[in-house]
């Protein structure tokens, strides 16, 4: 087989993939890296303004509010999702009647669109005539309707929805990790007289270490990036109480009629996008650092 011909053949097969990736995946990143130094509204001549966009960013209270909200949102979601999906995985990895059916049920939410589910939750959590309130009041659990999507509870409601959509996914990743632990480790431990808790602490957790680390990291980055369901549910409202970083960013590029800014700001948006990516990156690095330290303790 001719070497040059083989090179050409391979390149013709890779070319469509590479061209699409470069145009729609790589170019946009450089686009943003350029315009974050410009004052650019999407029309007219972009004006080079150096670091002014970043100066504005530091004074932008709405942005920092969205950063705080993002942390609350991601943190609230993870604190419930990770332990819950871990426990479910441990239970459903054992010989248990009906475990296949339960796994299927828990995983079901993850096949449904986040935006569609947000609409369903919007209807059932609706404050004055929502089904959840109707059922709660019908059963006499609460006397007055709870304002699920109001300023006080909206973020919590968004977190509940996020948990609903995520548990099945992480459960499955944990099960995959658990199945890689050799069975004879447990048998040997049983011979040594170890109880279930002891086995959990001395075998499962350390053996699962790398997988656990990967799953938590995945969960952190995915949670920090999620905004689709919040966008449909509340659009960041009321009063910016559910505004998260990526939703704030979205609105700078595609202004929405109700709430938020009404002018597109590509230059400033690019700067916000860069800052957001840096924040996610820093969190990931901190996590890497801390989890490495945890490894040393083991």
């Amino acid at each position: 087989m001719n070497g040059t011909k083989r090179q050409i053949n391979a390149w013709t097969f890779v070319a469509p993939s590479l061209i699409l990736t470069l145009i729609f995946g790589v170019y946009p990143v450089f686009w943003a890296l350029k315009y974050m130094f410009y004052d650019y509204q999407g029309f007219g001549t972009p004006l080079f303004i150096g670091l002014d966009n970043f100066e504005r960013l530091f004074r932008d209270k709405d942005f920092w509010q969205s950063v705080v909200n993002t942390f609350i949102y991601a943190g609230g979601k993870l604190i419930i999702t990770i332990p819950l999906s871990f426990v479910l995985a441990v239970v459903l990895n054992r010989a248990l009647k009906g475990r296949q059916l339960l796994r299927a049920i828990y995983f079901l939410p993850t096949v449904i669109s986040a935006s569609v589910m947000a609409i369903v939750f919007y209807v059932i959590f609706n404050s004055y005539n929502g089904m959840v309130n109707q059922l709660l009041m019908g059963a006499g659990i609460v006397s007055a309707p709870i304002d699920w999507l109001g300023a006080k509870h909206a973020l919590v409601t968004a977190i509940i929805i996020a948990i609903w959509g995520a548990v099945g996914n992480y459960m499955l990743l944990f099960i995959a990790g658990l199945q890689n632990i050799p069975e004879d480790l447990y048998e040997a431990a049983s011979l040594d007289g170890a109880g279930p808790l002891r086995k959990m602490w001395s075998i499962t957790v350390p053996m699962l270490g790398p997988v656990l680390q990967m799953i938590i990291m995945l969960a952190i980055t995915v949670s920090l990036k999620g905004y689709e369901s919040i966008m449909v549910l509340t659009e960041g409202g009321p009063y910016g109480k559910t505004e998260v970083m990526y939703l704030y960013l979205y609105k700078l590029f595609f202004p929405v009629s109700s709430g938020g800014s009404s002018i597109q700001q590509f230059g400033y948006g690019s700067a916000v996008g860069f800052a957001t990516a840096v924040i996610v990156g820093i969190i990931t690095l901190i996590y890497f650092y801390v989890s490495k330290k945890l490894n040393d303790i083991y």
Binding site: Q7, N9, A10, F13, V14, P16, S17, L18, T21, G25, V26, Y27, P28, V29, W31, A32, V91, R103, I105, Y106, F107, L108, P109, V111, S113, A114, S115, V116, I119, V120, F121, Y122, V123, I124, N129, Q134, L135, G138, W164, V167, N169, L172, L173, I175, A176, T221, V222, K225, E228, M231, V232, Y246, Y250, L252, F253, F266, G269, S270, G273, A277
Partner: protein
């Protein structure tokens, strides 16, 4: 006597913990199913009962909600658009993904490492909504911003996950088969069509499922591209649009019927292919 008593109390304890475990599992199952069930029963209620009723089951089953959603809320159109986008995105992703995976798995070409690095970077670097804007502007310059093809091309261009899944499957096909085919007179292209693709069939099915789900559920991209083109909206976009709809604003029963219409195909596929769905998640790194 004493030992019989302890063994009985141990048995009771085991039974109790089993019961508690099952209560826990059933509560979580109820949590997972609750919104779906509420949506389904709610979609069959009248507007009045939906907003004032206190029972789960509808008093009167109004199947007309579905007919209304299908015709007057334009769900027939939305469904067609969703099917169109998802089908072509899946076909395109599989074609481009298998071609690249085949070349990378079988040939040591110049620049291979760089190509793989670029692909993996696109998996991890994401600046969210920022990329939407240049992507949209690119489509404007190609004059595709007002058609579904703009959405399809951008979705296909995000094929890195499919590529990494497929490359694993291609590597699992023994190289000896290629070599035997070469001896029988095949060339680079006919090996792809006659050896690789047929042997990849199960992998293609699973990857297709994964890609189809992503395209079917995609919300933001079609939203951006159909802002001025209501006729091109997909199910996800059209459904969310009911929230702001002029005539439909106060018709939650239609919203739920529409939600069920858009969930149904995914749930049906899931019931038949739930093993493949789960394998894919468990085998992938993406959340």
């Amino acid at each position: 006597m004493a030992s019989a008593q302890t063994s009985r109390s141990l048995k009771n304890k085991a039974l109790l913990s089993r019961i508690l475990l099952w209560i826990f599992l059933l509560i979580v199952a109820a949590f997972a199913l609750f919104p779906i069930i509420l949506a389904f029963f709610g979609s069959l209620k009248s507007n009045l009962e939906l907003t004032t009723g206190t029972t789960l089951l509808p008093k009167e089953w109004i199947f007309d909600n579905y007919a209304q959603a299908w015709t007057s809320a334009n769900f027939a159109r939305f469904t067609w658009n969703s099917v169109f986008i998802s089908t072509f995105t899946t076909l395109g992703t599989l074609l481009i993904g298998t071609m690249a995976a085949y070349a990378v798995a079988r040939v040591d070409f110049y620049g291979k490492r760089l190509y793989v690095v670029i692909q993996s970077c696109t998996l991890f670097i994401s600046i969210g909504a920022v990329v939407l804007r240049p992507q949209f502007d690119l489509m404007v310059s190609l004059n595709l911003q007002k058609s579904l093809w703009g959405v399809i091309i951008i979705l296909i261009s995000g094929h890195a996950t499919a590529f990494f899944m497929l490359i694993g499957f291609v590597r699992a096909i023994p190289k000896e088969l290629d070599e035997a085919a070469f001896i029988d007179g095949c060339n680079f292209y006919s090996v792809y069509f006659r050896v690789i693709l047929p042997l990849l069939t199960p992998a293609l099915g699973v990857t297709a499922l994964w890609t189809f789900r992503g395209a079917w559920n995609e919300y933001i991209l079609p939203l951006v591209f159909t802002m001025t083109q209501p006729g091109l909206q997909t199910l996800t976009v059209g459904l969310a649009g009911l929230k702001y709809g002029v005539g439909d604003a106060a018709q939650p029963q239609l919203m739920l019927a529409g939600a069920c219409l858009s969930m149904l195909p995914m749930i049906i596929v899931y019931i038949f292919a739930n093993k493949s769905f789960m394998q894919m998640t468990a085998g992938s790194v993406k959340g």
